[in-house]
Amino acid sequence: MLISLNILKKFVDLPEELSALEIANLLTMKTMEVEGVEKLGEYWEKIVIGQIISVENHPQADRLRVCQVDVGKGDLLNIVCGGINLSPDMLVAVAPVGAKVLWHGTEEAVLEKTKIRGVESEGMICAASEIALGNLFPSGDEREILDLTALAWEKGKAIKDYLSNDTLIEVDNKSINHRPDLWGHYGIARELSAILHQPLKFYSAFCDMELGVNTKDEERLTIDRNLCDHYLAMKIKNVSDLPSPLWLKQALSDLGMKSISALVDIGNYVMAECGQPLHVFDASAVENEKITVRAATEDEKFIGLDGGEYILHHGEIVIADEEKVLALAGILGGADSAFNHKTKEVILEAAHFPADKIRKASMNLSLRTDASMRYEKSLDPVNVLWGARRFWQLVKEIFPAAEVEWINRFSSYDESIKEIKVAVSEFARVSGVDLSRNEIENILTSLGFVVAAQDKKHKDLLTVSVPTWRATKDINLPIDLVEEVLRIYGYDNIALRYPQAQLNPPVALPFLDLRNKILDHLVLHHNLFEVYNYSFLKLDSIKKLGIDNLSKYIYLLNPVDKTRPVLRDDLIYNLLENLSENEKHQNKLGFFEIGRVFRKSEKDIYDLEPGSTERLPYQHQHLGVVLADEEENLLHRMQSLSESLFQFLGKNYIIEECETAPNYFHSSQVRQIVAYDENQEKIILGYYGLLSPMLRDSFEIALPAAYLNVDLDLLSRLEKTEKRYQAISKYPAIELDMSVLIARGVAWADLCDFIKEKTEMLKKIDLVDVYRTSEWDNDDLHSLTLRLSYQSDIETLQLDQVNQWHEEIKASVVKHFKAVLR
């Protein structure tokens, strides 16, 4: 929103030595966010008023003319110009050599002495848009140059002497959403008067205070009090479609608004001044001069003065007469009842509508106007009266013959004054600064609050009356008053101080510990990359996984990306995309992700509301690890990773075959990790395995890949096991090897279990080598070399004895497993 410093200066004196930038900074630090400051006149610096003496055709160009222009300096300037409305005696805006202009209204350039089609040109005769005056002097044709003859400005003078010298401040609208009083200049002037300790002029000084706006006459009005709680209609006669005086055109142009006609412009100007939206109807268009405020009927049609046709479905508030809709309340006037060039009598509307209803209507119709933006903020209903008074004051000045024929007003808003009690000590408690009662009172008073005399019985208490313009939105509680005082006092004046706090016994945070350990172990020990993926899934990815039943997923009503409308129930989908993408520049990949997955079918521990028995859907934290590599023993590598991780975490686990593993695994190359909770219930913690070749195909992953998945919420609830020290034997171990040719179907674990049972002295069995060759007849065999480590805790073993045991073991292995020694 643009704010004019000149308009502010009407209401509050701004110290000379304070620059616009400093004022902007003060506002940012105490009231609202200022985005920029612009001094107008950048394009008027060197422009002078000139009079055209003669116009000749250009010898070499049909569309160009050569003009002799008098700029009051004696010698005439020779200027080539393409304007279509050039004529002798015309007063024009001349840009001499060295002046900055906007070519065709957009491209900035500095003029140089030049030849145009062979004829020398010593400057430029400007179109309005070329010197940023397009708003002030709108023209139909781009080739029309600015004709100043009617204004009778003095030839030779600088144009800037006649134009605005204003500075504009641009405010970020988002920072004043909660301050309905700041959507007009007067409210901002009030802020500045409090910030700068400068007196604020009463708005009444600018208004006709004799106007009978407080009337109780309402026979011409039929108002639905649920839709409007303050409505004022005022008929004014003896007006017409006149252009606005220059000062008004200038003011509107500075604020980025177009000048339409004096009466309409006054309405817009008053809205900019005091924040009250106003609307002017052509009185002859209002049937019987009676106005109704009601809800729109189903499919009621309305043509706005923007030319748009609107069909109303949602009971939007409309201003109507007995026959038709006159306006969309608070948003847009109608085309049929709009002020036009034939209008001689008008009806002014100044009203107050409920913020949420205007907001809804504005959104339903995708229609945002200056008026609707203000109504949405919850305006002060009292402002209706100020808007009307100020409007009439300006109309009187511009239309001396104007008369008020009648005023009708409906009012049902609550006129009681809001009162808030706040303790003086509360200010210090919240801020950490000792503020005196006096300081607090002074600041509140400067903002328009009224502080009652000190109560002898409750000396610490302040009884504060809230002014109506702050009572509709953000001032409700004692703490709101604390904020008012502190921000004017200046947050920068609050010295920092470290809090004093009570030491609490530490709270166990099992998931946090787990997460940190997993991160460190996987990154530092296994050299994996941590990735973050979106929580949304592509339907495409689900299809690639061969899943048809989409009903098990949780859907979003309004996904940002329609190709990703569901929440992930597993980390795998995105991790597979990661593999596929990164394969392009790497042939050895290891990624992991820790994140939440969402499942419709189960519940989690979180409640929906305090005291509610309903629970939110399952959204456990999961760990997902993918490895992709050409190497042969990928699955063993994944198993080793899983085991080392679990051991590092100190959690007990068991690896077993699974009955039903997720279908993305290679069915024979998957295992499940389980544990038992304190009730001896079996919990499945996760799975690991090779990904099926078909899956890799659909995701275009060339490398063999393995996936590990662990439910971290479940894992964090399991107890940790601590290590226990085992006494180191004093006696040396004897290691003996054995090589057997054995069926591949015999599991290593089974072989070891079998051997271990043979003697207690066997402390360790290591695998030294696995050997296969195609030279053997039978492809089902392989040769294992085992190293058996014999050791006693009580004595040194003798080699003879150990050899004997060794031979016995070899013999029984041969017999039991039908193996052959090598």
């Binding site: 909660h178 921000r487 009503l557 509301e609």
Partner: protein
């Protein structure tokens, strides 16, 4: 043998020795030299000493020391030459064994933390040192905890479709980590201090600096005596640690959020131009980093606390934004891209 003969043979020995020493080129030569002259049984010096036997006591007294003097000289010279040759040998060896350390023979395949994780853990550590709990809450949340409990009115624009992701059963994806505030107060009561780092979701148009999925770090401190002055101190500490600048400049100005009152925006001096003005800070010299404020009494109430007894501050750090600022990342989408060429830089 006469005195004169003795003296001259000592002199000659000295001369021969010196010449031989000069000629000795390596340690082996030196060893041989040692044996030749100082060898116990057959050394040349020994031979000369033997001739001493034939002299009388008076002569022995004069000539004996000569030989000893020569012995000392020889031993010292040999030692010194030995040291010299050893050093020469070391240097030669060093030259020969010189290795090109720029040759990347050892493949170091390191793993990598995600940059968000790095910054998040740094901040978690900072706060844990000050006794703050590190908490988390659900990402799929209820309207109560994400809006109502945070004093966000039913008509607030933030509840619109264009900002928040909704499910058809009225649940939503949390749009800020503040949703954990009320949960935390109900679970742990007061006094309480905690931070809540986590993933949040906003239904926004995606561009280089906006994504629909990003990270925030919420923090709150509730107690009997907690003030704005305390908030400023804590926020300054937080920013100075993250940006490694003890003298970081901050400013506090009015901001408005339904769940805090007073509400503030905390700006920090632009890290790029140091306050002079540049495109990063839109010429203002300040970067908006921390919305914060004193917890609204209605929120304390929703948390089961009496706002007359307890007061507190809360802040919502844009963690993703901070990570991008710290590492100079220019496109937010890289953070969720899973691109190893991005991840391997951290």
């Amino acid at each position: 043998m006469s005195e004169k003969d003795y003296q001259s043979s000592v002199k000659k020995l000295r001369k021969d020795f010196t010449a031989d020493l000069l000629a000795a080129g390596n340690l082996d030569d030196l060893e041989a030299l040692d044996n030749k002259y100082l060898g116990r049984k057959t050394g040349l010096l020994n031979n000369v000493l033997k001739t001493l036997k034939d002299l009388d006591v008076e002569q022995k007294k004069v000539l004996g020391p000569l030989a000893n003097e020569l012995r000392d000289y020889m031993e010292k010279a040999l030692e010194s030459k030995r040291e010299e040759l050893k050093e020469l040998l070391w240097n030669e060896q060093s030259e020969k064994e010189k290795i090109d350390l720029t040759l990347p023979l050892v493949k170091d395949e390191k793993g990598h933390y995600h940059p968000n994780t790095i910054v998040q853990r740094e901040i978690e550590n900072l706060f844990a040192q000050m006794g703050f709990l590190v908490l988390d809450g659900p990402e799929l949340e209820s309207e109560f905890y994400n809006f109502d409990g945070l004093n966000v009115p039913a008509t607030h624009p933030a509840r619109e479709d264009q900002d928040t992701f909704w499910l058809d059963n009225g649940l939503l994806l949390r749009s800020q980590t503040s949703s954990v505030q009320v949960r935390a107060m109900r679970k742990y009561g007061a006094p309480l201090r905690c931070i809540v780092p986590g993933r949040v979701f906003r239904n926004e148009n995606v561009d280089a600096s906006h994504d629909h999925t990003f990270y925030q770090l919420e923090g709150m401190m509730v107690g009997k005596e907690v003030s704005v002055a305390n908030l400023i101190a804590m926020m300054k500490t937080l920013l100075s640690v993250v940006f490694g600048n003890k003298d970081i400049k901050v400013r506090l100005r009015p901001g408005y959020f339904p769940f805090v009152e007073p509400g503030f925006e905390l700006d920090m001096q632009c890290t790029l131009c140091h306050g002079a003005g540049c495109p990063v800070c839109k010429q203002s010299g300040w970067i908006e980093v921390l919305p914060c404020g004193m917890i609204h009494p209605n929120v304390l109430k929703a948390g089961g606390l009496n706002s007359d007894e307890y007061v507190g501050f809360a802040f919502g750090l844009g963690l993703t934004r901070l990570v991008m600022l710290k590492y100079n990342i220019d496109n937010i989408r890289l953070l969720q891209s899973g691109d190893s060429r991005f991840l391997n830089q951290f």
